[in-house]
Amino acid sequence: MSAGGIHTSDPTTGAAPDTLPATRWIEGTPSLHRITSDISRPMEAKPGRGWWICFALASAAVLNLLGMVGYLFAKGIGIWGLNNAVGWAFDITNFVFWIGIGHAGTLISAILLLFRQKWRTSINRSAEAMTIFAVMCAGLFPLIHMGRPWDAFFIFPYFPNQRGPLWVNFRSPLVWDVFAISTYFTISLVFWYLGMIPDLATLRDRAVGGIKKFVFRILSLGWNGSQRTWSRYEIVSLVLAALATPLVLSVHSIVSTDFATSLVPGWHTTIFPPYFVAGAIYSGFGMVLTLLIITRQTMHLERYITVNHLEAMAKVTLLTGSLVGYAYATEFFNAWYSGNVHERFHFINRATGPYAWCFYLMVLCNVLTPQVLWWKRARRSVPLLFVVSILVNVGMWFERFVIIVVGLHRNFLPSAWGMFYPTVFDIGILVGVFGLFFSLFLLFIRALPMIAMWEVKGVSNG
């Protein structure tokens, strides 16, 4: 078997290689059967103690979420710390945060596919799963924030409706959001499932019988590896990637217009769409790093999710983190340069007001922390990357909090000023949604192949 198109120098003669040695995306040269067995193992073996501990914690958080959301539905959103001055706080912060988390998955699966980046093969499946779970978590927040969640379907245009021929307002970014997120979720789900069909067929053929075989037979759609099907399949994957590429840029751009089309100082700015997209990819890669570092260690998949993968992700994190830092600086510059007193006040308040600690925490996590990734040793140090990835997530959550709450709490009229203090329900729901996300991810790595076997096989053979 060839070594995957890798050029190396001849160890006996010490001759210089023709080209720079290509990065290896799999350790060693496992056989095709070995790849199938290694990746199927977490699904076929009983889960270890680590998995059970994580799952118990995550499920406890989900139970807490259910209880708190149930109470919220009974009592109304007054149980949160919202008030007349700050009508959006943890809820919309969480919404924007989770939507952002999803972006790395689509970037890895779609944009890196178009750029023919081989390093995506080991990580795309779990990153796409993460996207789907993150969008589910995000979708929860507008729903529970409505106050009357049973009327949530009013945001979709449908006919006949009880309101006569009254339709949704298509000029509103909140309606654009509905379309953007529904499309994003649907296309991500289809892309994820389509990519999994060949692997589901592999699992179907490995299963010895019973319910497992039955379920995989239904899900694998009769896939048999025919080259005529493969040929069409690759074209469809490319087409979907081409459609998802502008989608990944549009979703957070549209989310940012929820803010940018308003007149609130700190929100009313044209820089928001690219700034939000960069932030989304940055936070998404932070979460992918967190998840993959944990799963590669606990599931013993270091052979497939190598340090080279982590380094590649660290480079994207550094790039997007620096873009985010640049955007922060531009916001301050424009506030000064515009001469608009409200804008100036907002940014002075952001850096010196009662929420200044949130702002500095955000700068520490999002601007300073990723700079450590300029060093190759840092990019290849797994414990350090883990710490960085956690800080990225903390920083990006606080970024949204700073934009939303600091923007609202001292608006145009001093008589309308106020403060937001989270209640136990704000914090409980925040924790609960993390529990929901991790529960779904933990179930995913037990039930479905978390690495795309067929794609890894393609890379292993060059």
């Binding site: 078997m1 060839s2 056989s31 059967h33 245009p157 021929p165 339709w167 307002n169 298509f170 000029r171 509103s172 970014p173 309606v175 654009w176 379309f179 953007a180 529904s182 499309t183 649907t186 296309i187 389509l194 069909i197 060949p198 067929a201 592999t202 179907r204 053929d205 490995r206 037979r217 239904i218 899900l219 694998s220 759609l221 009769g222 896939w223 048999n224 590896g225 025919s226 080259q227 005529r228 099907t229 493969w230 040929s231 069409r232 399949y233 690759e234 074209i235 469809v236 087409v239 979907l240 459609l243 998802a244 989608l247 549009s250 549209i254 067929w454 794609e455 096989k457 393609g458 053979n461």
Partner: protein, 174 residues
Amino acid sequence: MAERFLVGSFSEPGPMLAAVATLRSAGVAIHDVFAPYPVHGLDQAMGIRRSRLPFVTLLAGLGGLCFALVFQYYTAVFDWPLDVGGKPENSTLAFVPVCFELTVLIGGLGTVGAFLLRARLFPGKPEQLPVLGVTNNVFAVVTHAPAGGNEGPLARRIMLENGADEVDEREGES
């Protein structure tokens, strides 16, 4: 009517690719090749034409775009023109995001639907595997081998010469 096929199993993609190229140049009709992952160069070796599915994407995407544009215009201008902050009823620029999203949504779903129809993939379809392991680590070349003809022996010889692990004769529906 049942047809006779020859199934050659390979454990490596290289020899399989060479066998397919030789078979085709020798004029043997290749029914299909089965592989655990898409092998580069196999389409050309088999002479498979590039799929026309992107045209479906184009049509479905344009359909989504037109629907979004007409629907927004109809609801906002004709059916219930509502003054929102003095904005024009036909706020075409504000309709762009929804137009884009529906283009992508309907284009994407249309393409996947057309693919599943064309490749005849549906839930619960019984798998028809030429040999066990084509979804794991086996590459299988399937050629037509009509009884009494010399295509069968020729194909068998070419496959064995190119490193096939095993060549079996099968009967089945094409």
